[in-house]
């Protein structure tokens, strides 16, 4: 028997709302399965489980908001029949799955994030109350478009109560919005709802999620709290280096001619790869400052800063970026962007980044003075790739260049190391065929 806890999905998360269970008691789960959907104040995140077993009991009902570290479910050991004689055969290592040490680290981060918040492991109210009967939302899932489901979630509308006007009675976004207007309560649903609504209360009344406006406010609050902590705790130092990007761009354009539309590369794929490979050579840039000491990470999981439409920012992990080809990086980033905007990131992506990259070049600025995501110790920024005057070999010419910046934690290292790190990134971008 073990408890499945509300994970910390980033250092800024103190609590999460359990929006939806994807499993029922009795379900067999294996490491890496997505078992629930949780609303942090920044996004809806799909939560993975980190062990094999059988869901024994769900402890937290849908709609409840609970602190990080709260037991969400009881998981018992896998059925004997499901386990091979050799446990190693059951737990076949999958390439992209975070390793045990990282899971432990994530747990440590959970502790770090919860420090100062409610004690992570005490949730007596939650444990005492039986889960309310589940709404038969599953019955409606096939009949509501994803957009409608999202709107329902944002507006706090129960899909079961919505009349669909689409084909075969499918629920469309407009239907949800109509229902939301019709049933708008006099008072907005409180964001900090009590963890559990008593079972006798109709669960339909449970404040499920937040409106788009609330979401904006919550996201600003979460970003503000995290960045304030970063600026308060981390003695940043900043470096910048202008990098000749002509070799990379020439290589990229030639390479893209051979590629189908779907497989074309963007310059950002080269930038990410160059950082990931530099991080392998300089482990002191890739890891966490925890409990007064630097802990190098076991893999390079690049946090990719993604701006959300309508405002806000999220930086999920591109796992094992140093071992990915450019194609894999492109696919990975595209997938992350789409899921970040659709609000479907996974828990490991939220808790794993080991160093973050922000690329504001598309917005036209020359350079970024980054703010480090605690407990990481470094953030690499890229500005616009632009044609600039460039002196080389005693000649003045015009070349596409990009200004790379580094914001790094002075507790973990000094400018000497940081400057080597930036020059490694520069070197990598001069050898695009090696990326």
């Amino acid at each position: 028997m073990s408890e499945f806890l509300m994970p910390s999905l980033g250092a800024d998360m103190e609590a999460g709302t359990l929006l939806e269970w994807y499993v029922k008691p009795g379900a067999t789960v294996k490491r890496g399965d997505i078992v629930a959907l949780v609303d942090t104040s920044k996004a809806e995140i799909e939560i993975e489980i980190f062990e094999n077993g059988v869901i024994d009991e769900l402890l937290v009902p849908e709609g409840a908001r609970v602190p990080v570290g709260t037991a969400l479910a009881i998981v018992r050991a896998p059925e004997p029949a499901a386990v091979g004689a050799n446990p190693a055969t059951v737990e076949a290592p999958t390439e992209s799955r975070p390793s045990e040490p990282e899971a432990t680290l994530a747990a440590a981060l959970a502790g770090a994030a919860a420090a100062g918040a409610a004690p992570p492991l005490s949730a007596p109210v939650t444990r005492a109350a039986p889960p309310p009967p589940h709404r038969s939302r599953g019955d409606h899932r096939g009949h509501a478009s994803p957009v409608a489901r999202r709107a329902a979630s944002n507006l706090g509308v129960d899909l079961a109560a919505v009349v669909g006007t689409g084909p075969d009675g499918a629920i469309r976004k407009a239907d949800v919005e109509r229902a939301a207007v019709a049933s708008r309560p006099a008072v907005a649903a409180p964001i900090e709802a009590p963890p559990v609504v008593p079972a006798q209360t109709a669960p339909v009344q449970t404040p499920r999620a937040t409106t788009a406006g609330d979401r904006q406010a919550l996201m600003r609050e979460a970003i503000g709290a995290l960045m304030a902590r970063s600026k308060r705790e981390i003695p940043h130092y900043y470096l910048q280096l202008e990098i000749d990007f002509s070799k990379s761009l020439d290589w990229l354009h030639a390479d893209n001619l051979q590629r189908s539309v779907e497989e074309r590369l963007l310059p950002s794929a080269l930038l990410l790869s160059a950082v990931a490979r530099a991080a392998v050579e300089m482990p002191e840039m890739n890891g966490f400052w925890l409990d007064g000491a630097f802990r190098p990470a076991t893999g390079v999981h690049l946090g990719v800063a993604i701006s959300l439409r309508g405002g806000g920012l999220i930086a999920p992990a591109l796992h094992d970026a140093d071992r990915k080809s450019l194609e894999e990086i492109m696919r990975g980033v595209r997938d992350l962007v789409q899921r970040a905007r659709a609000g479907r990131l996974r828990s490991s992506e939220m808790s794993d980044p080991t160093i973050t990259v922000t690329n504001l070049g598309d917005r036209g600025v020359d350079l970024v003075h980054g703010v480090i995501y605690p407990p990481q110790v470094a953030l690499v920024g890229f500005g616009a790739v632009r044609e600039r005057a460039w002196a080389a070999d005693g000649m003045l010419g015009v070349r596409p260049t990009v200004i790379a910046t580094l914001a790094a934690d002075h507790r973990a290292g000094d400018g000497h190391a940081g400057s080597r790190f930036l020059t490694l990134i520069e070197r990598n971008l001069q050898e695009p065929e090696e990326l």
């Binding site: 354009h253 001619l257 539309v261 779907e262 310059p267 950002s268 439409r309 595209r334």
Partner: protein, 87 residues
């Protein structure tokens, strides 16, 4: 052959797929799409892919600047289609 109206629907469909919050009627057909709709290079690539999926027109990278505005994009696609059909 797809009519200009259908091409317009294709481009708007591709754009709103990437940027679902955009009101198609609010798009200024002669203003830069990226500036107007806050589209970055990844979004733009996804739009190019979506247009390819729907029309079969493969837009080479060097032609990206010719798709700056909605009207530019539609006339580019109409031309590309005529040339493709004539070849």
């Amino acid at each position: 052959m797809t009519t200009e109206q259908e091409l317009t629907a294709v481009v708007i469909g591709a754009v709103t797929e990437i940027a679902p919050d955009v009101d198609p009627h609010a798009i200024d057909p002669d203003a830069d799409l990226a500036d107007q709709l806050d589209i970055d290079s990844m979004d733009f690539l996804n739009i190019v892919v979506a247009i390819h999926d729907r029309t079969g027109i493969e837009i080479p990278e060097r032609d990206y600047p010719k798709l700056g505005t909605l009207n530019d994009a539609i006339s580019y696609l109409a031309t590309a289609q005529r040339q493709g059909a004539g070849a």
